[in-house]
């Protein structure tokens, strides 16, 4: 479980790149890449090691006004946890 005050950042091996062919973002890491949907890209762009999980959710709330806050928070947390599990995101203790 990622604490709300944690400040996630991309793992050293992962880099976001705008993909002119698809018009979306990709997360690149050794030998692999993930094509991100717009929501995933918005979340990862905010994972800069400075913003807390709470702050990230708050910013996204401004962007996705039609989503109920608890639901949005839940989705963001699940996504972040999946990224941590894949070793693409770090959450300093």
């Amino acid at each position: 479980m990622i604490p709300p005050a944690a400040r996630p950042s991309l793992a050293a091996k992962a880099r976001l790149r705008f993909d002119h062919a698809s018009g979306g973002y990709m997360l690149l890491y050794p030998e692999r890449g993930l094509a991100l949907n717009p929501t995933a890209a918005s979340i990862l762009k905010l994972c800069n090691g400075e913003l807390t999980v709470d702050a990230i959710v708050e910013r996204l709330q401004g962007e996705y006004t039609d989503r109920p806050a608890p639901e949005l928070r839940q989705d963001v947390l699940e996504f972040l946890e999946e990224m941590v599990r894949r070793g693409l995101l770090q959450v300093p203790a």
Partner: protein, 367 residues
Amino acid sequence: MSPAPRPYTLVAELTYACPLHCVYCSNPVDFARHRDVLDTATWRRVLREAERLGVVQVNFTGGEPLLRPDLEALVEEARALDLYTNLITSGLPLERARLERLRRLGLDNVQVSIQDARPAESDRIAGREAFHRKLEVARWVKELGFPLTVNTVLHRENLDRAGEVIALAEELHADRLELANTQYLGWALLNRQTLLPTPAQIESARSVAVAARKRLEGRMEVVFVVPDYYVEFPPACMDGWGRRFMVVSPDGLLLPCLLAHTLPGLSFGNVRDQSVDELWTSSPGLAAFRGESWMPEPCRSCARRSIDFGGCRCQAFHLTGNAGATDPACSLSPDHALVEAARADAARAAPRLVSFKYRSARAPAAG
């Protein structure tokens, strides 16, 4: 003819020269023939044209890419194009100051090969003393803030030490460990009798790797690649011929894989004469096995044809003499007995005294 799909990864083989002599090297056995290497300006153009075509990652490899004095210039060009840059190296010859320069230029990832967890055994495979130097380089990689990939090629002699290799990678704080079983092409095919493991070895190493993957989740990615000889169906070699990967050989051939230019009768254009775009979309060699229309039975009507794309063309040629055959590694291939025979030979566990054929510029004698 199938339309050319979008490529994602450029494998830039900067040179076939290498200080090591690994007995399973994936370079062509006659690599010394390809001496006329591309210059810096041509490589820069290749990077630009590949990126325009959709490529997002570049692996600088070889041979040993550090032998190119213009590696820095190429990393700089690739980063200016916002490509994800990966240096695939033996770690020799490298000074820490050069690695620092590469770091400043934005190189994204460094992959260091380590042949075994033990010094003497590692150096025996590499054909020279290199082990301690490699560990030093791996430590610099981490000290300078790079992510580190450790790649160890597995075979009969080191498979039983998969656990030790994992422990070494952990000690080096690797971000990714590739436990890549030897694929029996090129130099490895020459040394197959010595290198091909028993099924019990594969199984035991695989369970060690699976346990480590679980234990290290989120910290170190552990990849275990089973050799084609021990699977029921072949993997999608290069993710399909001329599909996601493009390889440019040191002398400028645009290829679908590392060894496609060893197949007879295929013509691959050169980036000296044509643009990457032209070659990718209309080179006859790339068109030859792209898509499904070339497939023989049993591939043609097989439900897995869009998963494995018929397997490896080079393996088909080097085992059957026909590059257009179903990969003999596939249990459905009419030539599968060739692979079964090699496996049966490997399963006889008695120690055999077969000497290695080390990679060298002199072509080895046949047989």
